[in-house]
């Protein structure tokens, strides 16, 4: 942690200053673009940033990592003028600056691309980019000039984007590109990306990384915030790790390795991937899916999952993964096929399935997982009124005890029953949803992207909970786009492609590369074709 490399920036990532362009100031290509010194910030007496020193160079991808609440977003918000710092200094291109609001930040060439994109779906790429800043000729919008400007930007950065495409018709990756283009059109020199891949599939993410590489080579500074370690290794030239409002350390490219980073982030040593022993399979408890079909999304799907097993379902977004587990749960009405649990047919009614010990953690916890207005207690007990009431009357004492036990067992923080669930951090929201199901006597747990937007520490907690849960004899079926997660957690992985299973991997043969290849339709040695 001693390597606070304030001064040791190593030139520019790629200093081919060949094609000058007014969007990026390539002159400062080999210097520090932004430097923050001794930034200090308090909220109502709680220190959230303490003596933070931080810098981003031109032409580098600088990753910022840390658990939720480590102070990443506060730091970003101070840089972008959303908050003002209590103490400390900011320098842009060597000059001391004060950033009071977002406009100040924009004028200095600092642009943020947020998780929720800010494009208007009904407008085209060009219209979005020039929204509010339309080029006018004689009082009329000069559409031609605007379009040409966008086209030249696209060509310059080598984006695969149509300036006339309506945003609504574009995939998430392209939307993100349009968003980046918008930042560039306003002469961004530092682009801040907050979890940019959270809604992208693996292939789309790869495209985004290529875009980022291109930007770096043209001298732009990228500040990249992500929970996904693999992305950070892939992309970053330098990595700053934060914990508890402090900068824990800055790592250079060669120094970045998963173990070091995780340890720095959570402040303690975490168990590596190696300690996975063989798990016990309970042959007397099984889920059998036969010839399952669901409109055009699922075709003739067959598999069996056993108690004690975590079955990973891989594949690209849209390959039918989500539909598969929704059909099993009863949230989607299957059009054909049979599903059996322990040899007995599974109902199409969610209600009956829950009574039979099913649980489902949906992909989008805001839309389908959590009731944000209700408190943690109610969010936990919401699925268990059958056990907490008699003759429709809720047993208040049981209800409180049930919730308190779940909060304790699943380490939901802060441990306050009466807190609105919407105010918890992403990881604790997910623990709350998991607590909702694990507190019941569950026999089958269906999970869809269980750790999206969850920080590393909590992720490990969730993995531990799931493992324990499976070890106790339950069946766990988990859909995930996080390859590392599938490798780490699954006893077996089935990769889906176009509504069918494409390949099966068993423990020991599961690698990120082969999962990725299988998802894109390439068979590998490790896998078993299905």
């Amino acid at each position: 942690m001693e390597d606070r490399t304030d001064k040791t920036y190593e030139g520019a990532g790629g200093a081919e200053n060949g094609n000058q362009n007014d969007t990026v100031n390539t002159e400062a290509n080999d210097g520090v673009f932004l430097e923050a010194k001794g930034i200090y910030k308090q909220f109502s007496g709680v220190t959230v940033l303490e003596d933070a020193d931080f810098s981003v160079n031109c032409g580098e991808v600088h990753a910022l990592m840390g658990e939720n609440g480590a102070g990443k977003s506060t730091l970003i918000k101070i840089i972008t003028g959303v908050y003002t710092k209590d103490a400390g200094e900011l320098y842009v291109e060597g000059k001391s600056v004060e950033i009071h609001n977002r406009q100040d930040a924009r004028n200095l060439g600092i642009q943020v691309i947020y998780q929720e994109l800010s494009l208007i779906p009904a407008l085209t790429v060009t219209e979005n980019i020039f929204l509010g800043a339309e080029t006018a000729k004689h009082g009329w919008m000069d559409k031609k000039a605007m379009r040409e400007r966008v086209q030249s930007l696209i060509e310059h950065y080598g984006f695969d984007l149509d300036p006339d495409a309506v945003v609504d018709t574009m995939g998430m990756a392209k939307r993100q590109m349009a968003e980046i283009l918008k930042a560039l059109a306003f002469k961004a020199k530092l682009i801040i990306m907050d979890e940019p891949t959270s809604s992208l599939s693996a292939a789309e993410s790869e495209k985004l990384f290529e875009t980022i590489d291109g930007l770096r080579n043209r001298g732009a500074g990228i500040l990249y915030i992500s929970h996904r370690l693999d992305e950070v290794y892939r992309l970053s030239d330098r990595l700053t790790v934060m914990r508890d409002g402090k900068i824990v350390g800055v790592l250079k490219k060669g120094e970045i390795d998963p173990h070091t980073v995780t340890t720095m982030m959570i402040g303690r040593d975490v168990a590596g991937d190696e300690d996975k022993g063989a798990t016990k399979r309970y042959e007397d408890h099984w889920l059998e899916v036969k010839n399952l079909s669901y409109s055009h999304m699922l075709k003739d799907v067959n598999f069996t999952a056993y108690g004690g097993e975590i079955l990973g379902i891989g594949g690209l977004v849209g390959s039918g993964r989500t539909e598969l587990i929704r059909c099993i749960y009863g949230a989607a009405k299957r059009s054909g096929g049979t599903i059996m649990l322990d040899g007995k047919p599974v109902s199409r009614s969610i209600r009956r399935n829950i009574r039979n010990g099913f649980g489902y953690v949906p992909e989008d916890r805001h839309a389908e997982g959590l009731v944000p207005l209700l408190n943690v207690e109610k969010n936990i007990t919401i699925a268990s009124y059958d056990k907490l009431s008699s003759a429709s009357l809720v047993n208040r004492r049981k209800e409180i005890a049930w919730a308190d036990k779940a909060i304790k067992d699943y380490d939901i923080r802060p441990p306050m029953r009466t807190l609105a669930a919407g105010s918890l951090s992403g990881g604790n929201q997910q623990k709350t949803i998991l607590g909702r199901w694990l507190s019941r006597d569950l026999r089958l747990l269906l999970l869809d992207e269980p750790t999206v937007g969850v920080d590393v520490g909590v992720k490990m907690d969730l993995y531990r909970l799931l493992r324990e849960f499976a070890d106790n004899g339950a069946i766990v079926v988990m859909v995930s786009s996080d390859l590392a997660e599938l490798v780490y957690l699954s006893d077996r992985v089935l990769v889906m492609r176009d509504g069918r299973f494409f390949e099966e991997f068993t423990r020991g043969n599961i690698t990120q590369e082969s999962l990725l290849l299988a998802a894109s339709g390439v068979h590998t040695e490790e896998g078993m074709s299905l």
Binding site: F43, V46, Y329, P372, L373, K378, R413
Partner: protein, 344 residues
């Protein structure tokens, strides 16, 4: 200490009570009649009808809907009950069977609204607005445009010189509490019980908070929503019969446009019109507040047109205040979380 006091006043209930106290102080200076016992009685009688409707509409608002037909439902319920009572010569059994039929009809009308809202995914305010006109129009079929006037004797129960309720209740009660107020208390108690103690209440909050989640944990959202509209219909029906009894007449103007006051009570009482948030206590406070404002305006002989103006201002002010209170409480919540996190 100072900070604590400010925070208490800034909280939702702090604001409500502060406002009420302010009004009382102003009235103490401007119009001492405000503090007469008789005046309290008339405020209570006025909010009894509104309060029962508020309790009903609360169910629909909690699930993320709204019921704009409560006024019309009250009107038709009163008309049917009194029409049937009239045709039986105002016998007790005739009146009771009239009430039963009227409430059954309100139940059905509520169910129809609920089904339209759930099955066809129509916005509740459009459905119930249409229902308001349909029901209001059909009052004519029942009354032929006349008022049904029950005789002021025989069936009526009097407090002072006011005919309060025409269900025969025997010789009154010792405390001399008007019958409508007793009915309000009973309705409030039952609604609070249902919302707080039963699984049905829990489910309503869940549905209003996030219908997708409710469906995915096996709650039959649509059936429960239909139920909420039925409850709203029946309670509006009861309120209508109460109102007609107090006014001594039933017809097309009975409870006409009452939904405005009811909604206002809801907003003042901090019920989230988007669903999932609010309770009987707040809603009834809202009804009380609206009742007092109306009473104050009458006492101060504010012109009718100005009264309408003031009501509009009250709705906007209440919504703004609630928004501030909510923001304040989430802010306080965040600090609490940050502190707890630090401690952990």
């Amino acid at each position: 200490m100072m900070k604590k006091a400010i925070r208490a006043i800034g909280s939702a209930w702090g604001q409500r009570i502060t406002l009420l106290v302010l009004i009382c102080i102003v009235m103490a200076i401007a119009e001492p009649v405000f503090f007469k016992l008789d005046n309290y009685k008339s405020i209570l009688l006025a909010i009894a009808v509104n309060g029962v409707m508020v309790c009903g509409m609360l169910f629909t608002v909690l699930v993320g809907g709204m019921d704009l037909s409560v006024g019309a439902m009250a009107g038709i319920s009163a008309s049917i009950a009194y029409r049937i009572a009239e045709s039986s010569g105002f016998t007790t059994s005739g009146f009771l069977s009239g009430c039963a039929l009227a409430l059954a009809l309100c139940l059905v009308a509520g169910a129809v609204s609920g089904l339209l809202v759930t099955r066809f995914a129509l916005p509740a305010f459009v459905v119930t607005l249409a229902m308001k006109y349909i029901v209001y129009g059909s009052i004519y079929l029942v009354t032929q445009g006349f008022f049904v006037l029950p005789p002021a004797h025989g069936l009526s129960y009097q407090v002072g010189n006011q005919i309060v309720f025409s269900i025969p209740v025997g010789g009154g009660n010792k405390l001399n509490i008007p019958m409508p107020v007793i009915i309000l208390i009973i309705v409030v108690a039952i609604c609070a019980f249902v919302l707080v103690k039963t699984t049905y209440g829990r489910k309503l909050y869940a549905i209003g908070g996030n219908k997708n989640v409710a469906n995915l944990v096996g709650i039959k959202s649509n059936a429960n929503i239909v139920g909420a509209f039925m409850i709203s219909g029946v309670l509006a029906g009861i309120a209508g019969i109460m109102l007609a009894s107090m006014n001594g007449q039933a017809g097309q103007t009975t409870a006409l446009n009452y939904e405005g006051n009811v909604l206002m009570a809801m907003v003042v009482g901090g019920v989230n019109l988007a669903g999932g948030e609010g309770g009987v206590a707040g809603a009834i406070f809202g009804a009380l507040f609206v009742g007092i404002i109306n009473n104050v305006m009458v006492l101060l002989s504010v012109e009718a047109t100005i009264q309408t103006f003031v009501r509009g201002i009250v709705i906007l002010a209440a919504m703004t205040l609630n928004m501030y209170a909510r923001r304040g409480s989430t802010g306080a919540m965040k600090i609490k979380i940050a502190k707890a996190d630090k401690a952990a």
